[in-house]
Symmetry: C2
Subunit: 224 residues, 2 copies
């Protein structure tokens, strides 16, 4: 049994939940919002941040922090869906695109998603419209790129799901909670997202409901 | 035999050269400066950037782009020094700190290193003193953190060298070319760097000489 420290709308935490789900790993969750980390986190290691997993069965308790350490650990241990392809060439391509997704979505998360969270969840301040526009513009560019990738192969890094897809879906699902993804502009990516949404690992994410704000109507709809 | 596309002062390319050296892999190099990528790179994959390795022995030629794809590939294949520790807990910690190094150094590279390169190598413009100051300030913070880590264990993620150390040394060595690392303020990190510098994998980096500008006097000095 593993314990996951995460915050439901953090794309990094969402990726880890998807990866744990794909591997069929049982886990309990504790919330650790970015603005108020759970006190356990800082005790794990100097400079540690959520998402973090702790294996409750090992002594001393094995822990891993951050999407790279956690997902590579899950990829090289346990059962369930393989998170990376088998051949060296395909693994390299999946990791390249996984890294690309995380870097490319960082600007969108830092602007668009952060403004939405500040507006609806924290209610700290009015959203900064320049940052919302900048984030929306960046997101459109990323969507177009990803649409082209899945149009060729069905999935981002080939014909099977990998950490590149889970990372992309983790980010897009967080933006989609607030209705910020223009799915109709990217039909191949929309079809890809429908396939990912219907995977059992996705169910817990679609059930997320923040107290402060409900998701858009189509958020959990498999036929959106 | 592998071919590496890189630019000598790019920290990402330096990490790959160190990792290839530690694994004892023979490789030839082709230059691919960030401002003028080698034309082969864009033919590898849509959106690919240097550093990139191509395996000249495989058919079709296996390639990997970016530090994550390349270094994880090298860690799971071949011989030489293990790039990641053996136990799951230690691997997770090495990957957490490797990711931390890359994220933490990004600001320093984007400001301090970029300004130096623009000033001396490209001679495009006068350096922006505000960006130099911001980068130098960020670097001091990172050095202090890393000094604390190596003080405890000898290496960043434990008692043996790992990708976390190679990534840190790759970044610091690029800043050090221009004399921007205040080693005397971080004695434990200085001692750690002296140990890394004396590894055979480091020799090619210390032999780098850009046409446009020579390194500071102590750059290649093992007893600096």
């Amino acid at each position: 049994m593993k314990r996951l420290y995460h915050w439901p709308l953090d794309p990094a935490g969402r990726l880890v939940r998807l990866a744990l789900g794909e591997r069929g790993e049982a886990f309990e969750t504790l919330e650790s919002p970015p603005w108020s980390p759970h006190p356990d986190i800082s005790r794990l290691a100097h400079g540690a941040v959520a998402p973090a997993i702790v294996d409750l069965k090992t002594e001393p308790r094995m822990f891993a922090c951050g999407t790279r350490a956690i997902c590579e650990h899950l990829a090289e241990t346990g059962d369930g869906t393989a998170l990376l392809p088998e051949s060296a060439a395909d693994r390299a391509e999946a990791r390249r695109l996984w890294a690309w997704v995380e870097a490319a979505c960082e600007e969108v998360t830092d602007t668009l998603l952060t403004e939405r969270v500040m507006q609806w969840v924290r209610r700290d301040r009015q959203p900064d419209s320049a940052r919302l526009r900048r984030g929306a513009h960046a997101l459109r560019g990323r969507l177009t790129f990803m649409n082209g990738m899945v149009e060729i192969n069905g999935y981002l890094a080939g014909r099977q799901v990998s950490l590149a897809d889970l990372a992309a879906a983790a980010h897009l699902s967080a933006y989609d909670y607030f209705g910020d993804v223009e799915w109709d502009a990217v039909p191949d990516l929309k079809e890809w997202y429908a396939r990912l949404k219907s995977r059992p690992s996705f169910r817990p994410l679609l059930a997320d409901r923040l107290k402060a704000v409900r998701p858009v109507a189509h958020y959990a709809d498999l036929d959106f």
